[in-house]
Amino acid sequence: MLDYETQRRIELFLFEEARLLDNRQFQEWLKLYEPQGIYWMPSQPGQTDPLNVASIVYEDHAILAIRVQRLLEARALVLTPMPFTTHLVGNVEAEETADGEFKVGAAFICVEHQAETQKVYSGRHTYQLTRHNDSFRIKMKRVALVNCDGVHTPMALPL
């Protein structure tokens, strides 16, 4: 089991990420990722293969940077009006792996409100975190939606 302080710092890191998304500070959000960090949202339950199986999102820092630009400056149609979100992260369980990194599991709920519509997303985050100064960086974030293989309407913002 991790010591209390490291566990707590990891939780605060996840809360920071959620807050940056809710505040639409997408560039700051992207800075939480390693230069080759990956954001992965599978399309199938238990999916392990991002090459032979389609993903809802499978993007590294370079592609995420394009996505963030689109969110910030270019004002995608799907983002007009810009949605408001509440990203909630809980049930955080972290362990240190042999290479000095951290494997973190957490449950999430995100409520997204846009114009006349309110949507709820939920599922499980799995992170690979590396140490970075006094904080952490995301090497991989896997977002497993409970309805990943279901019927989807357009999804606007990262979870």
Binding site: S43, A54, V78, A156
Partner: protein
Amino acid sequence: MDHHVEQPSLSSDEIRSLVRPDHVHRRAYADAAVFQLEQERIFSRLWIYVAHESQLKNGGDFVRTRLAGYEIVVTRHTDGKIYVLQNRCPHRGARICMADGGNAKVFSCPYHAWSFRSDGTLDSVPHRKSYPDTFSFDDPQNHMQRIGQVASYRGFVFATLSRNPAPLIEHLGPMTEVIDNLVDRAPDGEVEIASSSFTLEYRGNWKLHLENAADIFHPSFVHNSSVQPARRAPANASILDQDQTREMLLANGFGTAEWESIQLNGLPGGHAFMNNIYNKGVLVGQDTDPVAARYRAVLTAKHGAERTASILGMNRFNNIIYPNLVINAQYQQMRVTVPVSVDRTLLHVHCFRLKGAPDEIFHRAVRFLTTLGSPMSMIFSDDMEMLERCQQGLEKDVGPWIDISRGFGMERHGRDGSVSGPASEMPMRVQFKAWVDYLTAEAA
């Protein structure tokens, strides 16, 4: 089903009055009675794509989908034949199959355990002795209903509820070329539908998607929010996809000359396609691309250089097989439209594996599917937003006519139908001409 109407259908004159040569009445998109007639005369009478044979390899394999107003299971029975069965128990009317697909020895109704073979026939009922003497296992009334007829074209399975349909090949017309091209791109002469796919839903009429797929005027506006960031982004920065995502985003920002060279084609029956859109990088198979070179070599070994060049040279985009199929052969992509109600549509988005091609070719098809077909697509999510806004606008009963006049009278006749430049709304006019013909045709 939402908006269901049980009332006399619209007269042919009423239908004709909704379409002018260069305008369409909002009721074509927003009137539930029109939708009902479309279900009866388009989605029940035409050949509708329902499955791919690679999903139905063995006896007991099945796919669950929709055909007109019915939920159906498309099955491969042990006799080797494909059946289209209504997914409803003849006993109490319950839906039987809830899985999207798979293999089943029998379909068993969970309510009172009537069981059916994959050709729909009744296999067993519990407490047989309490049924009347007249109850027969052979009586089709006691079977999962076989609805419609089935025909395949090179692995693509179509069904129709029409009792006396024209042959499938006649309905497909010259559009067989795009199915041929997709299959011919596989060195082993066979394609396999990928196990993963997306199902997207938009709150809009089904025709809006087909019109959007035939419209190359909107990308400069609708997709500007992904074109601009992709232009500013450095090339080859991604470690994942050899720049494929960035190139796909860039491709919607056409140069004038590039855009002007696009040709639109509208065919009898409402089919349409356009030529060449993506013409850079890994999507094109440049000579400098080692994967493309290996793939070309395998295909050449099979077909020879000349035929290979002809197969790989076909560069048509958004091949629309009216009324529910959009195929992009060169990227092994397919979208299937499923109308749910007048203002609600599902899109199944698939990709294919070319059997015998290098694995990386399939990885690119999967990547294409993710980039364009995912609900978080930086491209298609904006298209869907526009389809929904059109529906919202069309539901208002003010200013009933909308415009499809761009390029009117400027199209010319080609080998298979009308041909126009990229600015024309000719494909929409062609689709609506066919739409009126189908909706006003005598009973089939």
